[in-house]
């Protein structure tokens, strides 16, 4: 589509990267094939050498997945996108594309538990050190950069801490240090903010969440905004890629090394389901945000609720920055506290509509007790660092009628 760049976001959600095929099908065809035959040996050689575009093998690329990748790149305003088997595959593949043994990540301390585990434990086994700093303390963040720091990593809204860093300011810190900024935008989705507009060089999504929207798929994506100069002497391992592929240097290194070698590719069926789910992202995010605001207001006024953490509440310390960054929308996830872990368990068990499970971004309202689940392997000090307390419940507010969601929490709280 020639005029794709001029379409509004909502139109790109539906039409972006969608190329009409000979059958006239209006959905993206599921190309369930492991590999792709070519007429001549010369053709396949050209594709392997990168002289010609074409399919080789679904671990490397696949027409269904490429359709999803084109749409994600258009939505984020990036130069390229790479879809992966999961959100964690996206993070690990992207991070390992940049870092080598001896390098360091300066990471937000407000992280999804899986990312914290990857950074703190797994990458440490390969000689990559992670330093965790409060992303809302800009001075501390800047001071934590040292001669080995090669990447800054933050989440747009910390999950589950619900803090909101000033991403443009963090981007400035990264620029001054000559290192890239990678932003996990899973909680906000491309609808609330494009990472590129906030100054992110690379954007990560767990597409399993709001992009899919129905809890039917595990997937991830890395979006390369083409904004970082990989020819920098701080990244000598990028030199051949920066020379040959210029603004695609990061995507090229990721695809030709980490994505190819680790093999965390999505199944074509999952890519198809994501192209279906993403069409309604805009409408869904509006409802997730308005329902979350309704529920946050109800919870805050309930006598059994000790505290509510949602950036949409006017007295949240992150209300102003979230409003500015995300167009006065505050996402579909909130946390709140009751009296104790025991009470939070009783509350979860009393909920009739909300489902008790480890996910966010579903059409259904979801709850979880993070301390005993996602963060169960961490010490109390580590949980405090991640913003997880024993009495905390995380809610991913769904698309049901807000009165039904509130009624469910109301009856559960009244039963305590």
């Amino acid at each position: 589509m020639a005029q794709e760049q001029t379409f509004h976001f909502e139109t790109l959600l539906i039409h972006g990267g969608l190329e009409p095929g000979p059958s006239g099908a209006t959905t993206v065809p599921i190309v369930q094939s492991s590999s792709f035959a070519h007429e001549t040996a010369e053709d396949l050689e050209d594709i392997f050498r990168g002289r010609k575009a074409g399919q080789i093998y679904t671990r490397l690329n696949n027409p269904t997945t490429e359709s999803l990748e084109r749409r994600l790149a258009l939505l984020e305003g990036g130069v390229a996108a790479i879809a992966t088997a999961s959100g964690m595959a996206a993070i690990s593949t992207a991070v390992l594309t940049i870092l080598r043994s001896g390098d360091e990540i300066l990471s937000s301390s407000s992280l999804f538990g899986g990312t914290y585990s990857l950074f703190r434990d797994t990458l440490a086994n390969y000689g990559i050190t992670s330093r965790f700093v409060d992303p809302t303390d800009l001075a501390a963040f800047e001071q934590a950069i040292n001669e080995n720091t090669r990447l800054i990593f933050v989440e747009t809204i910390g999950n589950p801490k619900m803090d909101v860093p000033d991403i443009a300011a963090l981007s400035g810190i990264a620029r001054r240090a000559g290192i890239p900024l990678m932003v996990d935008a899973t909680v906000t989705s491309p609808y609330l903010a494009r990472g590129r507009d906030l100054g992110a060089d690379i954007v990560i999504h767990s597409t399993s969440k709001f992009i899919n929207g129905t809890g039917s798929v595990i997937g991830g994506a890395v979006i390369d905004n083409g904004t970082f100069d990989w020819g920098s002497p701080l990244f000598p391992h990028f030199e051949p890629f920066a020379k040959k592929y210029r603004q695609f240097a990061f995507s090229a290194r990721l695809r030709k090394l980490m994505h190819k070698d680790f093999g965390a590719c999505p199944a074509p069926m999952n890519s198809f389901l994501l192209t279906e789910g993403i069409e309604t992202l805009g409408l869904r995010m509006e409802r997730h945000c308005s329902n979350a605001l309704e529920l946050a207001g109800f919870l805050r006024n309930h006598p059994r609720v000790g505290w509510v953490n949602y950036p949409g509440l006017a007295d949240s310390p992150f209300h102003a920055i979230a409003g500015r960054q995300f167009g006065n929308r505050y996402g579909g996830v909130l946390t709140f506290g009751v009296a104790s872990q025991e009470e939070s368990f009783r509350l979860i068990n009393a909920l009739k509509l909300a489902r008790n499970l480890a996910n966010i971004g579903d059409a259904k309202t979801l709850v979880i007790h993070p301390a005993s689940t996602i963060c169960v392997d961490y010490s109390p000090e580590q949980r405090t660092l991640l913003g997880v307390s024993d009495e905390m419940i995380r809610v991913s507010v769904g698309l049901e009628h807000h009165e039904d969601i509130i009624r469910d929490f109301s009856q559960a709280l009244d039963s305590l």
Binding site: D46, I47, F48, R49, G50, R51, K52, A53, G54, I56, Y57, L60, N61, E66, R70, A80, K243, K244, Y245, R246, Q247, F248, S251, A252, R255, K256, K260
Partner: protein, 70 residues
Amino acid sequence: MQLTVNGRPAGIEDKDSLSVTALLDELKVKDALYVTVELNGEIIDRPVFDNTVVKDGDSLEFLYFMGGGR
């Protein structure tokens, strides 16, 4: 005009010169959004595709980062 594209001869009828953008269109290069273009051994930056002229005798290489090899 006669060009060498990816090491093989390629003829463009009725044209003496073309911009890189027009050439990608003329050759119906697939996924042109993602291609890196090397003209006579020099990588051409994407923002100047419109202003860079390809003429008779030039040699071009197209590079994709999506393929299998390096």
